[in-house]
């Protein structure tokens, strides 16, 4: 039987179905064109092209079913086998004819839009949008057509085949989101030139379905179905998928939640072992309930937090404080509450850049480390240390980090570092001070080199392990988002004499182990990688940072928290995921019993006067 004869027969068999699908796909574009003409804008279509093209995959499935049923339904099944044409050739011609017809139908709204837009001089807008229209729905149509074709050859009932085919297509499109691949994304590695990772799924799915259809026709495979069984099976599959997805993105139990509001309730503040939320009070989570107390251990810090500080202005200078107000640490020393802050005094001058534009630059003149003590009505300055020799480049941005390590105050100021004894905060003593010794940090841009080396902070009054930890945090964590970070939390995990740290990019987590160090550098080698699944990356935004505490890595994204066990069998194993799409995560604190406090900001309910937030107490999944 000649090819032309077979093709002509196939076209004749499905002509009415094709016309019906063409009518369906063209209704919306024609409506818009007529409406636009009646409005006086010209006979063209633009907005309705995309919605009508998105019907394409569904209609392609319909055409596939009609195409197969024309010859392979129960009543004609013996008849078509008596035709003088091989099974493979016949099925291939049938498949190709129907596919071309389906794609032609899908192209009609695009052609209509292009023609009418050309006539109405709307070319520019149409040309910009057409490239997005053609590729994805076209590929989806090929996939749904192929799968429905194969299902129809197997099941031989139109409606059920279409439903099964669509269900399989949805499953194939959803699976890449959920598969917890333990290695780098296969598609990114192999098909680097493709911007859509679904290309592999759609092409392989289509080819596989076509080959299966030929085999099913050749070996007369028939799957008898009943409606009840199909629906229950489908529901069970969807349930299993949702459980699988839920296990990936929503498995941390919420023990308690509480709504809060207030301008200053942006994060948790630590005061020794106690924690408070500014404007609300000390957080108490006994019996898995979140309550706030005004006082704890005789300290009314919650109210006192809002007390003014004494003025540190100097005539002729502007002043900047590091850390900024929200990032300061509060310490209980010598029976009182203290905080440390570095004040940088600068003047502003104008200069012309290369293009002749005027811009203001800061010239830093003085730097002071001050200790503030919580008094009855204000924060009072109890001591002051001149650190102006640590300024370095006077026109450069000041990089400052400070905090308590091993009971001593350690400060990193630009390229200098110092250690102070603050047992008596009103009389701090410098134990060690090194000016301009710190080397430039090694930039990390999200790659995963085998070996890394970074400058060591040469402080002899601290233990070497703490120097290494400080060096790693300085190189990768400080100054990345804010100037003035305090030292905790850290990305470094020290356990059983081993030091490792974790770098997070948008695609994966990489672990590096510290192998050795000398007087100048710390040397590390990569030991583990844990890529994120697509679902993990999509739900809650990209992960942008985290910290390690007690063998658990806590990673945060805009609207999510992920918890990983990093000590078990030296692997990075995910244990929990918490996401709230309508909120963005503020501060995260891990309590001593392992449970997690999260402060989230509600995107929708915020206004100037009431910043709507919530505090969640989560069960640690580790």
């Amino acid at each position: 039987m000649r090819v032309a004869t077979v093709v002509h027969q196939q076209v004749s068999q499905i002509k009415w179905h094709a016309l019906a699908c063409l009518a369906l796909i063209m209704v919306l574009p024609l409506e818009e064109a007529v409406a636009s003409l009646l409005d006086g804008g010209g006979f063209y279509v633009l907005a309705m092209v995309m919605p009508s093209i998105m019907l394409g995959p569904l209609l392609a499935g319909l055409i596939a079913c009609a195409n197969v049923q024309a010859d392979l339904n129960d009543r004609r099944y013996i008849f078509w086998r008596s035709k003088p044409v091989g099974v493979k050739r016949f099925i291939t011609l049938k498949y190709a004819t129907g596919l071309i017809i389906a794609l032609l139908i899908q192209a009609c709204p695009i052609v209509f839009a292009m023609v009418t837009s050309a006539i109405s001089d709307e070319k520019q807008r149409v040309a910009e949008q057409m490239r997005y229209y053609i590729m994805l729905p076209g590929l989806l149509s090929v996939m749904t057509y192929s799968i429905c074709f194969a299902c129809n050859v197997l099941v031989r009932k139109t409606a059920r085949s279409w439903l099964i085919g669509m269900a399989v297509a949805c499953l194939l499109l959803l699976l890449p989101f959920m598969l917890p691949l333990g290695y780098k994304d296969f598609v990114s590695d192999v098909l680097m030139w493709v911007s859509w990772f679904y290309l592999a799924v759609m092409l392989v799915g289509s080819v596989g379905a076509f080959v299966f259809a030929i085999l099913a026709a050749q070996y007369d495979l028939h799957l008898k179905t009943n409606l009840k069984g199909l629906l229950w099976t489908g529901a069970a599959l969807v349930f299993a998928l949702m459980m699988f997805a839920g296990g990936q993105i929503a498995n941390i139990k919420v023990l308690a939640e509480r709504d809060i509001s207030g301008r200053y309730a942006t994060d948790f503040k630590r005061l020794g072992d106690d924690m408070f939320v500014p404007g609300h009070g000390f957080v108490d989570v006994d019996d898995n309930k979140i309550t706030f107390e005004d006082t704890k251990n005789d300290w009314d810090v919650a109210a006192a937090f809002m007390l003014p500080t004494s003025s540190h202005l100097e005539e002729g200078y502007e002043v900047a404080a590091y850390p900024t107000y929200h990032w300061r640490g509060f310490y209980r020393l010598a029976g009182a509450v203290y905080t440390f802050v570095i004040h940088a005094y600068y003047v502003e001058e104008e200069e012309h850049d290369l293009k002749g534009k005027v811009r203001k630059i800061r010239i830093y003149e003085k730097l002071y480390l001050r200790c503030l003590k919580l008094g009855a009505n204000s924060w009072d300055t109890v001591s002051e240390l001149d650190l102006s020799d640590c300024i370095g480049d006077r026109t450069a941005r000041q990089y400052v980090a400070l905090g308590l390590i091993e009971g001593r105050l350690v400060a990193i100021v630009n390229r200098s570092c110092l250690v102070l004894d603050v047992a008596e905060p009103s009389k701090p003593k410098i134990i060690e001070k090194k000016i301009d010794v710190l080397k430039r940090i090694v930039m990390w841009r999200g790659s995963r080199p085998e070996q890394l080396a970074m400058p060591l902070i040469p402080l002899e009054s601290l233990s070497r392990e703490h120097c290494v930890k400080l060096s790693i945090d300085r190189n990768f964590r400080y100054f990345r988002y804010f100037s003035g970070d305090v030292f905790e939390p850290s990305i470094v995990d020290m356990h059983e004499g081993e030091i490792s740290f974790y770098l997070v990019s948008e695609k994966e987590i990489v672990r590096y182990d510290v192998t050795r160090w000398d007087d100048e550098k710390v040397y590390c080698s990569r030991s583990a990688v844990r890529p994120f699944t697509i679902l993990e990356r999509m739900v809650g935004g990209e992960a942008y940072g985290g910290f390690v505490k007690n063998g658990q890595l806590y990673l945060r994204g805009e609207s999510k928290l992920m918890v990983y066990d990093v000590r078990h069998a030296r692997r990075i194993r995910k244990t929990g995921h918490f996401a709230r799409m309508n909120s963005y995560l503020g501060d995260i604190e891990v309590l001593d019993n392992g449970n997690i406090l999260v402060l989230v900001h509600d995107r929708q309910k915020r206004d100037v006067d009431s910043y709507h937030r919530a505090v969640y107490l989560l069960e640690n999944p580790g």
């Binding site: 409506e31 009932k157 409606a159 949702m242 929503a250 996401a579 309508n582």
Partner: protein, 225 residues
Amino acid sequence: MFAQLMWKEWKENLWKLTFCGAASVVFTGMLFRMRIIPDQSNCYVISFIQMFAVPVVYALDIFSGEMTNRTIHLLFKIPVARWKLFFSKYLVSAVGIVLIFLVTGLLMEFMAGGRETPLGYLLGSNALMGSAALVLFTCFCAFGCQSRSEATSLVAMFGVFIGWGIFFFWAMICEVKWAIPFAPYSLINIYRDVPPGMVLIGQILVFALALLVACYRYVKIRRYL
């Protein structure tokens, strides 16, 4: 006799109620437990899917099943008016659809407990979409009451979905405000410029007309073997 017809239809279609009810309850419970998206969004997602899926399940073989199982000639031989046959099928389906949406709505309210939305809001939203589903199913009956196979029932059901969708889009784009109340989709989000009372009247008219046409067409079936 009508009660016996109802009993027969109820037993035959109980599996649909069980299936849709179980699936709705399980997925509602899962989504409201996970809380990745807000309760209101969860309610809209679940109700929107139910609005299409539940009528499809009922429509697939409520009429065509008698044809494909070749029991329709036995059914027509029963000494009872054909309109009663039609209404027994329709009422069982309608009660099933209403029960499914009611149970789902109540479960949503129970699980949400008023934490993000006012009490009754989720039930109300779900009920509105349930009403839309019922009107869509009734419209299907007008076209699909003479269908002889699952395929034609499915085509009729999707034709109703798409047809009303096109009608609704046209009314919205061209701002034909008098037409909006007649589209079942206007129940989903009561169009601001159209009073809810008009939407209610429009839907009642569509519902009554579709029911009448369906009953008439079912009574007038002549070729059924």
